[in-house]
Amino acid sequence: MTQYFTYRGFSLRRADLPVRLLLTAFLCTCGIAVAVGAVNYQLRTGLSAEGSKAWYRGGLAATEADARAPAGTGPGPESGAARTSGADGEAGLYARSPLELMDATHPHLFNQAFLFFVLGHILALCAVGPRLKIAVYLAGFGGVLADTASPWLIRFASSSFAWLQLAGQAAMGLAFAALLFFPLREMWGREARAARRRRGERG
């Protein structure tokens, strides 16, 4: 892609058809991956603050068990990955151990940064104002930071940080939507088609 950076006035709408098809396929795959991630969160936490609290600190059953157990022996937040069970016999949720949280944090930091690196370069080739681009980058990185830090804060500080996680996911979702929307509009939108027709190009 970087050869295009040296073309003065280049934007994605001037890209050849094979490049546009390649980028579109990549962006669609990224869109599906993000959607699967959202479904994953939905299944785990219901995308709600209550669900996030239960996922990281253990279910409601843990709190009830803590209340009945002698101090320091119950499966509460301090007891690591203790298994709990609900009153109806359904398997409950564990309170996550630091190692479990670390196993999720470590790859997330790299993978999301890498994805932003690639998608950010594609957005950079769009004729979009620099302020909007910077806002998208900041929203994305801020969202990743909040999404990565909030499990630790929920688990070890306060369950109120579940709202931070939701806010982070919302920011990340908006940033991803912008990172997908602007390049696709630039490549396939009405203005791009009209410009190509004027130049007598196909596609």
Partner: protein
């Protein structure tokens, strides 16, 4: 390394610098978290690294009981390492190629990054095949990769934010 080209880090407009700085910050954070993760698993020293792959049944009263990794689990570990530890080196190498480092310094840093990444990938097989005595190689690879990534990210950040931006600027349309 990127001298003579308009596409050098110190000439980038603000948007690119924000994008690259965010990516570099998360990469450095990721390597730091990776070290803490290994400390929590079995320790980052030679013995700890060997225990992670070979198990710690010989240790009296270990904090966590670890079993020797089966071949499929070792392959899984290599796959995870390639995604989490080695993939970011590609980004770092690409950015270092646009830095103002001299060819010798840039080559040395890039070479160290590549060697450490390859050694990190080879570590599971090395320790599983060569025994606990090679735990030092796994520890050196993991720590060397994190250290060289930190230096590489620092060089890129210095070029983007601290170097005077003289000469023609690279600008997006």
């Amino acid at each position: 390394m990127g001298r003579g080209s308009l596409l050098t880090l110190h000439r980038l407009p603000l948007g690119y610098r924000v994008l690259y700085s965010g990516v570099l910050a998360f990469i450095v954070l990721g390597y730091g978290v990776g070290i803490v993760q290994q400390v929590l698993r079995s320790g980052i020293g030679p013995a700890g690294m060997a225990h992670w792959f070979l198990g710690n049944a010989d240790v009296a009263e270990p904090a966590h009981l670890l079993f020797p990794m089966a071949p499929a689990r070792l392959l899984d570990e290599v796959w995870r390492l390639s995604l989490a530890d080695v993939l970011p080196t590609v980004v770092l190498l690409a950015l270092l190629g646009r830095s103002d480092l001299s060819p010798a310094a840039g080559g040395l840093l890039s070479g160290t990054l590549v060697l450490a990444a390859l050694a990190d990938l080879a570590a599971p097989a090395l320790v599983a095949g060569g025994g606990a005595g090679l735990g030092w190689a796994a520890a050196a690879a993991r720590l060397g990769l994190a250290a060289s990534a930190l230096v590489g990210a620092g060089v890129c950040m210095r070029d983007m934010w601290l170097r005077p931006r003289s000469g023609p600027r690279f600008r997006r349309p």
